[in-house]
């Protein structure tokens, strides 16, 4: 066992109102520079829908993430290293600007310069070429099921479910999915980078690009199954979500989390066993979620605490891990689930699946959304939403999604019983009243300090960045071709 600590996030989809505040504040902070106009480290998409970039989940097209080869070994879906090196001159799986969208502006000048007496029109112009263009895409183009026939039907998650269910489904179900880099425990982007420019920080698990080492081989872009590494359009270098590390190091939440209007986000430390990561990534499809949960270590277990201290995890970090809302939601109460665990990157941004669409469906079917029996009936009879959520969060295990939704419904009924003194309804198996009250506290009324439990980074102990990636011998910290300021402090 080798104990490591990593930052993790949980998003409660029930409370996301799809306002995109997170995307905008992130963009203003990180991607308002030249060459990043089309880049959204955080984006909010509507599900069902194709998302951003269009159809990002379709790994038959992009070959992102990991897969098991014939003999059960883990390898990148884009093949072995030699295959990637051979395709270094042109990467067939690399998305182009058209897969994202071409940013546009408007010909505002026409409004001012039009002669009097005419009705001026500001036509859209491409922000890249300045030429007139038809706007036909955007980072949330299919927002709120806009054009749902076209976009919802093209959602790759429907492939497994068959097409018969689509229409019924569109009439009943929609939710928002805010997405950012998952800061995976088994990051495909890092493994695919030929220059070794991408790395995972040992101290907090944040995955970053060393801009001074990136040579623009662009394998990370296609290898990330979540399509969360981007190329700067002008410099041709990789850029990605930084988990706002300068803020995290100061104990402050990421910009997207702090500005979230719905207060849907939680950030905390997770302790995990580095030696168990590979096996978890190789788990059977049916066991993927449980396998990843098994990588996380119980921060209350004295043996884990002792090993963590031996492995150099600071005391205050262990304390934070014990108070981590992510531990509570993903491990203790098991209401948070990973996004697409079948990509096998072991993502660290987890989601609480939304119950509200099912409450809406209960009403639509003539039931009473306040009546637990009616809600449970909807959950178990409306197969499509549950199966769809299972495609997203459990690699197809609908029972696990049902369990989570049942628990979320039970919070409502239990809290009503508590406040009104009504009869206590029967609780789901293995769930106690105090569990539900704790969940209610965390999901409903938790304050800033319990939603974000972020220990400060220990910069006082750190000197220069060390890296054990093999590289050019001339490039080592005291190699002849190395500037003295190379290997500067990790900011």
């Amino acid at each position: 066992m080798r104990v490591m600590a990593a930052m993790a996030m949980v998003l409660n989809l029930d409370k996301c109102i799809g306002c995109s505040t997170c995307s905008v504040t992130c963009k203003q902070t990180w991607t308002n520079r030249d060459g990043t106009d089309y880049v959204w480290f955080n984006n909010v998409e509507t599900k069902p829908g194709v998302g951003y970039p269009g159809g990002w989940e379709d790994q038959a097209q992009w070959r992102g993430g990991w897969e098991l080869d014939g003999s059960g070994r883990l390898r990148l879906r884009s093949g072995n290293r030699l295959r990637r090196l051979v395709r270094i001159f042109a990467n067939p799986e690399m998305p182009s600007i058209d897969d994202y969208y071409e940013p546009a502006t408007y010909d505002y000048d026409a409004l001012l310069s039009a002669p009097a007496g005419t009705q001026p029109v500001a036509r859209p112009l491409s922000a890249h070429t300045g030429q007139p263009m038809e706007i036909s895409g955007g980072p949330n183009w299919d927002d709120d099921l806009g054009g749902s026939q076209q976009y919802a039907a093209a959602d790759p998650n429907f492939r497994e479910l068959g097409s018969a269910v689509r229409l019924e489904f569109e009439n009943t179900f929609m939710f928002h999915l805010p997405r950012l880099c998952e800061h995976c425990l088994n990051p495909a982007c890092v493994a695919a980078c030929p220059s070794g420019a991408m790395y995972k920080r040992e101290s907090d698990g944040i995955v970053l690009v060393d801009e001074n080492r990136c040579r623009g081989w662009r394998m990370c872009v296609s290898a990330c199954p979540y399509k969360k590494v981007f190329l700067n359009r002008l410099s041709g270098k990789a850029e990605k979500c930084t988990f706002c590390f300068p803020r995290i190091e100061e104990g402050t939440p990421t910009v997207c989390s702090e500005t979230c209007v719905g207060r849907i986000r939680y950030i905390g430390v997770m302790l995990y066993d580095l030696d168990a990561v590979e096996d978890a990534a190789k788990a059977d499809r049916a066991n993927l979620v449980e396998a990843q949960r098994a990588v996380f270590l119980d921060p209350f277990d004295p043996a884990v605490v002792a090993q963590a201290e031996a492995d150099g995890v600071a005391r205050d970090w262990i304390k934070s891990a014990q108070a981590s809302p992510v531990w509570a939601l993903a491990m203790k109460h098991k209401v948070a689930l990973p996004l697409h665990p079948e990509f096998r990157t072991l993502p660290m941004v987890w989601y609480i699946p939304p119950l509200s669409p099912l409450l809406g469906a209960t009403t639509a079917m003539g039931g009473n959304a306040e009546d637990p029996d009616d809600v449970f009936h909807t959950i178990s009879s409306l197969r499509v939403p549950v199966d769809y959520l299972a495609q997203l969060f459990t690699a197809g295990d609908s029972a696990m999604v049902e369990q989570v939704l049942g628990k979320l419904a039970a919070i409502r009924t239990h809290m009503r019983a508590v406040t009104t003194g009504a009869d206590e309804p029967s609780l789901p198996e293995g769930v106690s009243g105090s569990d539900l009250e704790e969940l209610y506290q965390l999901l409903g009324v938790a304050k800033f300090s319990s939603r974000f439990v972020i220990p400060k980074g220990h910069r006082e102990e750190t000197a220069e960045v060390a890296s054990w990636v093999s590289g050019c011998p001339l490039e080592t910290p005291d190699g002849p071709l190395t500037r003295s300021e190379r290997g500067r402090k990790l900011p």
């Binding site: 042109a90 088994n186 623009g216 359009r233 060390a466 890296s467 990636v469």
Partner: protein, 229 residues
Amino acid sequence: MSWLSIALFGVWPYIALTMFVIGNIWRWRTDQFGWTTRTSELSEKKLLMWASPIFHFGMLAVLIGHLMGLVIPEGWMTSIGVSPEAYHIMAVSLGTVAGLVFTLGVVLLILRRFILKTRIRLVTRPGDIVMYILLGLIIIIGMTATLGYNVLGPGYDYRESIGVWLRSIFMANPAISVMAAAPWIYQLHAALALGLFAVWPFSRLVHMWSVPVGYLTRPPIVYRQAARV
């Protein structure tokens, strides 16, 4: 020996090579951020899928051909059993094929970057233009020389002249007169090629030094830590 010959084949090589060596070291030490392929695949993909591999593999073949022809002395080749006739046939046939592939690659890349109305023109920098002009001229002249002298013409043994001159540069005793006696088209080709080496450090060509062979052996996941004091 004219002054021009002395300048072009006695002085210019040393200027160009100095720029090449010092320039690359200087660029490496001062501009790690700019040391990149500056890929434009994001902006244009369909043509690149063909153009880039054709260009790069063609260039590799041409490079190997030039090394075999110019760096390895004729005597060595003969001593390992490659007769001048055999060498000539091989060099002309394979060399022409490699040259044509390379030319096709460059033509496609130039088409893609400068002729067709694609987004990629917006990410083109002055350095790219200089590089493409040089590359284009060198290829046109080189292919003309090969086709004119060795495929259609009487044949010209550059190994006895240009090769000797090239090696003499590295022995700090440039055989200027040998080069001055070569056909002008070969002279021009060589002088321009030196120019490419001179601008190399200041262009995106530096990415050639970063061929990621280390990737084949390194551990898949890279971790970094801030070293403890």
